[in-house]
């Protein structure tokens, strides 16, 4: 009797306690679940993404990301299309491993996909997509670097074929050259006033110079590193190259963790960067570009960010972190900045190209900016961003 009564009382107490617990916790959990649901359905507004973080005045804004076909307006697929599967062109319409990027005067972004062996032409204005190198006579094995000259001719380097292919603005192959001189070409840069095409060759460990009109080899810049890594003008593996507003040649020596600077005569001027994770350090530097205020942008694939520096290598601000979200990178590679200061960064493992807007000194109204503003009023050539 005693034990039975005991069991019942115990069970009763338990159930009462359980009900109490449920009663206590239920009202508290419900609103939290609702909030979670709300957060899941609500998308983050990435259009307000900016660097440096507020309250500092924004100097870099996020514009968007493109991975190929998503640039076109979405088309409803008919039942026949669904039944027949995906057409061949669409299978290729998502980037797989974008590396090089270049922008022409019409604002079209040319993104080189190393694995798909094709160049994506993203027309941001007309929302259309084209390809280069997808039909003969153009054929790529490992296309990597891209550059565009003032006539909107596109140059694409192929690391495996050791060639550079030149396309007309309409996409015809104009020339293929460099086969006898190049060993493993990567990044390209064009100097319009000096009529030069610079090719960073990671295997020859030099920068090769070609004539922009005759497309003939002219000379080399730098030399392979031999011994001391502090040696100026000597490379371990130059991968990317860019020219500053003065025409100085900035070469990214990826495995030497340095940016090496040469003047137009090919004389080494200076170098900056070191093997470090922090500001001004480049554990794996890749792409390089300049904005209209003359700042240097260096993409680092290990830091998963691009860093903005002054032309003598003083770090100003980093942008990005590891991740799949807008403004985040996963092994970024090349960078290109157009005349409207739009920044295009290829994001290799996120399989996309991200676009940012640099807010110039003049627009941000900084001290230096005011001077630039005064200048640009008297300078008819000064570029302005379209509305």
């Amino acid at each position: 009797m005693r034990s039975r009564g005991n069991i019942w009382t115990r069970l009763g107490a338990l159930s009462l306690g359980g009900a109490l617990a449920v009663g206590l916790f239920l009202p508290a959990t419900l609103p939290a679940q609702e909030e979670n649901k709300k957060a899941q359905t609500q998308t983050t507004d990435y259009s307000k993404l900016a660097w440096p973080a507020p309250p500092a005045p924004a100097r870099i804004r996020y514009i968007g990301a493109y991975s190929g076909d998503d640039i076109r307006p979405k088309k409803k697929r008919g039942w026949l299309e669904k039944l027949a599967g995906v057409p061949e062109e669409q299978a290729r319409s998502h980037m797989l491993k974008p590396y090089g990027v270049a922008i022409d005067s019409k604002g079209r972004a040319f993104v080189v996909d190393t694995l798909l062996r094709v160049v994506f032409v993203l027309d941001l204005e007309n929302k259309s997509l084209e390809y280069r190198g997808d039909k003969p006579p153009a054929a790529f094995r490992t296309p990597i670097g891209a550059a565009i000259d003032e006539k909107d001719r596109l140059f694409v380097s192929d690391a495996e074929l050791h060639t550079i292919t030149c396309f007309s603005p309409e996409g015809e192959v104009l020339a293929m050259f460099g086969g006898d001189k190049l060993e493993r070409p990567a990044g390209l840069a064009v100097d319009v006033p000096l009529r030069r095409l610079y090719v960073a060759d990671a295997k020859a460990r030099k920068v090769l110079v070609f004539d922009l009109d005759k497309l003939e080899f002219v000379g080399t810049i730098g030399k392979p590193l031999d011994g001391d890594s502090e040696q100026l003008g000597a490379f371990i593996a130059p991968t990317n190259v860019a020219i500053d507003p003065d025409g100085l040649i900035y070469v990214v020596d990826t495995f030497n963790n340095k940016i090496q600077v040469f003047d137009t005569d090919g004389e080494p001027v200076r170098s900056f960067g070191r093997l470090a994770e922090g500001a001004g350090g480049f554990p794996r530097p890749k792409g390089i570009a300049f904005d209209s205020d003359g700042h240097v942008y260096v993409v680092d694939a290990m830091k998963n960010q691009f860093e903005i520096l002054t032309r003598d290598g003083k770090p100003l601000a980093p942008v990005g972190a590891l991740g799949p979200n807008p403004g985040q990178f996963n092994v970024p590679a090349a960078i290109a900045i157009d005349r409207f200061n739009r920044i295009f960064v290829t994001d290799q493992r996120n399989r996309r190209v991200q676009v940012f807007q640099y807010i110039t000194d003049a627009e941000a109204g900084t001290e230096k900016g005011k001077e630039i503003k005064a200048d640009s009023q008297s300078n008819p050539v000064a570029q302005r961003r379209p509305k």
């Binding site: 006033p193 507003p245 003065d246 025409g247 001027v269 200076r270 005349r339 000064a382």
Partner: protein, 463 residues
Amino acid sequence: MHLAVLLLSALFILQGPYLMGGDHPVPLAADTDASKCIECHADKTQGKVVHAAVQAGCLSCHFVRNSARGTRIVPKNARTETLCGNCHEDKKLAPSNKPVHPPQTDDCLECHQPHTSANASLLKKETSGDKNANLCLECHTKGENVPEKDSRHAALDMGCATCHITHKSGEIGKQDAEFHLTKTTPALCLDCHDVKDSSLLKAHDNQPLAGADCIQCHDSHQSTTTNLLQANLHSPFEAKLCDTCHAPAKDGKVVLTQPDARAVCVACHEETTKKIESAKVAHAGAQGDCTQCHDAHAGKAADFLKPDPVGACLTCHSDMAEARTTQSVLHDPVFKQGCNVCHTAHGGEREHLLRAEIDELCLECHAPTAKAQKPAEGFGETIFGGAVRLPAGYMDKVERIQVSRQGLGHPVFGHPIRGTDPRDKTKQITCVTCHDPHAGGKRLILAEAGTSRALCKLCHKEM
């Protein structure tokens, strides 16, 4: 110079100032004629001294760069060394580590104006006059604010160019190259001072002067004593007790009170003589004439080593003299402070006349907790229990290695600095397994290894 300072200065050369272009307010053609430039920039052509390149045309140094971003005027070369060197070939730096006036390595425009100037050689200021007027005195302080009882060389008022040629260089260790002099001493001094002058001879106790080098006893700029004497003076010399060592000169030759110089020194310096003779490991150089290494009268260094504490040894140890000119990084104590920081020149107990056992010797300065002692009297700081004197604050600048008590952690985390040498089991790892104590590559790594990668590969063959 300290190793870190050497490295820093190397970096400075790499990252020195450079020229930048600028946006031009009006568009220009790439082949714009100089006359067009002068319409606005007339001031660049007017002055007492005008750069010959201005006559040759603006485009001899500038470049008109027309691109989508507008017209920019850009210097033809980003470094003045290259740009100016296009014409001034003779002023271009030699590729080796020859002594040069430091501004020459970073920027010609530190001293020169590019277009016009009121001074010769387009200098920003004259090289003579007081502190405000003299260009050299912007960096140097020679002859400034000398107290009345001290002495000051009258030639300072004639301008620095009286004795110096700023761009002069030459072999490392050579006096005229190191100090950029027009001539080496004493020939330089004799341009003004006559050795046959009776008052001069009288001041020198009528001893023959023709063969002597003036700067052994005299400082060429200023001194805290009378007659521009060097900072450190031998006590009999200071007390003018010349007859302690000298007899009157005979037939224009110096005559000593003893048959040879060593005997003169031994008469007073008994203890040192005993040390030299009874040393377990003897120094052959110390067995002969003391004046081979020491000056008998005065000197820049406390022990009157001539010409300086490094040069005294290099006359015999020519391999070190060669290393000084060929290696990229020099260990500061060896080539700046003097060989006696690590070696005992009068003989010692250890091989190579080392002051202490090899690791102990290096860790005296480079151990994480290494500390200098403050001497009871005198200047600077001392190490090895007072045996070695260093300039004040010297030890603060020495690079320390980070090692645990077990001797792990250098050059990378967990790496041993003691133990058996993996290449030769009979040997122990010491500092000299990887470093050359005198001169070598970056961070003084062994010259035969070349790079740090090659050095690591000596043991880590799998790399």
